[in-house]
């Protein structure tokens, strides 16, 4: 009986060892001071309005030797939308746009990465906005990785990326003021992540 139990436990452990990914990817938490989530949207065809989110949290798992095993997860507080104009920001928080009281967060969870060049890749993931989840593809450039040069940040490894994507806000049910305010929203991400050993 004891032998049978031991065998079952050992075979279970062996199976777990086979199934679990042997990823050496390190976790990098967003450095919020040096990370920007910016959006641009057409205004009546004359200019593009620029805004950003001030409050967000996120991390990425990154192994430069196994980039395809990397992953990213971001949560953005929609109430933190900031276009440098208080009344417009109030309007953007209303049900006309981000509906921040009903949907206080938008999220992005990566589902796959295609490496397209030495320092470039396409990150596919699910963006959830206004209760609607749709796939988006981020065009990402790896800017670099290395120890933080500041003595106060000794032991911290920094990795930096730039990301670009364009989505249609109407696909997420954000239909306010179409077509005067553009449907296509360009998103710029400038991300620094910190990994502390």
């Amino acid at each position: 009986m004891k032998k049978a139990m031991l065998r079952a436990v050992l075979s279970g452990a062996l199976m777990l060892a086979v199934v679990a990914p042997a990823s050496a990817a390190d976790r990098f938490d967003f450095d919020k001071v040096h990370t920007n989530i910016v959006f641009l949207v057409d205004h009546l065809g004359f200019s593009r309005m620029v805004g950003q989110f001030q409050d967000f949290d996120g991390h990425f798992l990154f192994d430069p030797d196994q980039v395809a095993d990397s992953a990213v997860s971001v949560t953005i507080e929609t109430t933190s939308v900031d276009t440098d104009h208080e009344k417009r920001d109030d309007h953007l928080r209303s049900p006309d746009f981000f509906n921040a009281a009903e949907f206080p967060q938008m999220t992005f969870r990566s589902t796959g990465i295609d490496v397209t060049g030495e320092k470039t890749g396409l990150i596919t993931g699910d963006l959830t906005l206004l209760g609607v989840t749709r796939p988006v593809v981020l065009d990402v450039t790896f800017n670099g990785m290395g120890p933080h040069p500041s003595p106060q940040m000794a032991g911290v490894t920094v990795a930096g990326f730039s990301g670009r994507t364009t989505l249609r806000r109407s696909e997420f049910g954000m239909t306010g003021f179409l077509p005067g305010l553009g449907d296509k929203v360009e998103i710029w991400l400038e991300v620094e992540g910190h990994h502390k050993k």
Binding site: K87, S94, P95, D96, F103, G131, G173
Partner: protein, 276 residues
């Protein structure tokens, strides 16, 4: 955006003129209001999402459901039990609209707001229904138009332009109906009834107020509460024109409009003071 207001006005005006004095006219008018609002929604927001992900996206479905119940017949909404039926409908609709925050765990502030919206919706429904019992469908259309216009102003000041424009659609549809009915009344063709019109209008206004009160942080809840007095305030001024002659038929709706417009004007002033 102009079409979102113009289309409901034209729909209301046309049906009011076509149905003037006919026995089924009140249900036609309720249908004109509901279909006018759905048309306004299409112009302002496009096709409704299914399933609706947000409370605002549930509004066209709420109006369609209210319209379906209105088509059951004028008699249902003219009965003494109508406020109880409307109350049950209002509670069900509010739970649906507030489903997401209720799921997250209702707090005292949310429940208080829901109770205020339910009470306000019932006040508008009952006040409008009584106005219909006194003055026919024109009596119902006038407070719906003035309350809708006031709600539009409060919503715009509360930083929700599309909800403000949709409240404008309510005002336009009811205003179109009132204009057509008034023109018919001037030549002696009064349309009796209007309880089903009151039901559809109160459902649309109540739904809008719910979305504003629950999900628009900048909107003045005090101003929204003042709006609910509109249908009741018309009664006082209307009484200044007693009798049944042609001059009274012409003057009474004007006085009713002025009376019904006072609380919405006060509500917009209050919103301007608090949030403007």
């Amino acid at each position: 955006m102009v079409r979102g207001v113009a289309a409901p006005f034209v729909a209301g005006l046309a049906i009011a003129l076509l149905g003037r004095g006919r026995s089924h006219a009140p249900v036609w008018l309720a249908a004109a209001l509901g279909l006018g609002l759905l048309t306004g929604w299409l112009w302002l927001e496009g096709l409704p999402h299914f399933p609706p992900p947000a409370a605002k996206a549930k509004l066209p479905y709420l109006i369609a459901a209210a319209l379906g119940l209105a088509l059951v017949g004028e008699s249902l909404w003219a009965r003494p039990a109508a406020p109880a039926v409307a109350g049950a409908g209002a509670v069900a609709a509010l739970v649906w609209l507030a489903w997401r925050p209720l799921q997250a765990g209702p707090d005292g502030a949310l429940l208080l707001r829901l109770a205020l919206v339910a009470a306000g919706t019932l006040l508008v429904f009952e006040g409008t229904r009584r106005a219909a019992a006194r003055d026919g469908a024109l009596g119902a259309a006038i407070p719906l138009a003035t309350t809708g216009a006031g709600l539009g102003g409060v919503a715009l000041l509360g930083a929700s332009a599309t909800l403000g424009l949709f409240a404008g659609s309510v005002a336009a549809a009811a205003g179109g109906i009132a204009t057509g009915l008034y023109a018919a009344q001037l030549v002696g063709r009064t349309t009796a009834g209007g309880a089903s019109l009151a039901w559809v209008g109160a459902a649309a206004l109540g739904g809008l107020v719910a979305v504003l009160a629950l999900f628009t942080p900048k909107v003045s809840v005090a101003a929204l509460a003042v709006l609910a007095l509109g249908p009741w305030a018309g009664e006082t001024l209307r009484g200044w024109a007693p009798g049944t002659g042609a001059a009274v038929r012409a003057l009474r709706p004007v006085l009713l409009t002025l009376g019904c417009a006072l609380p919405p004007l006060a509500a917009v002033g209050l919103a301007q003071l608090l949030e403007g």
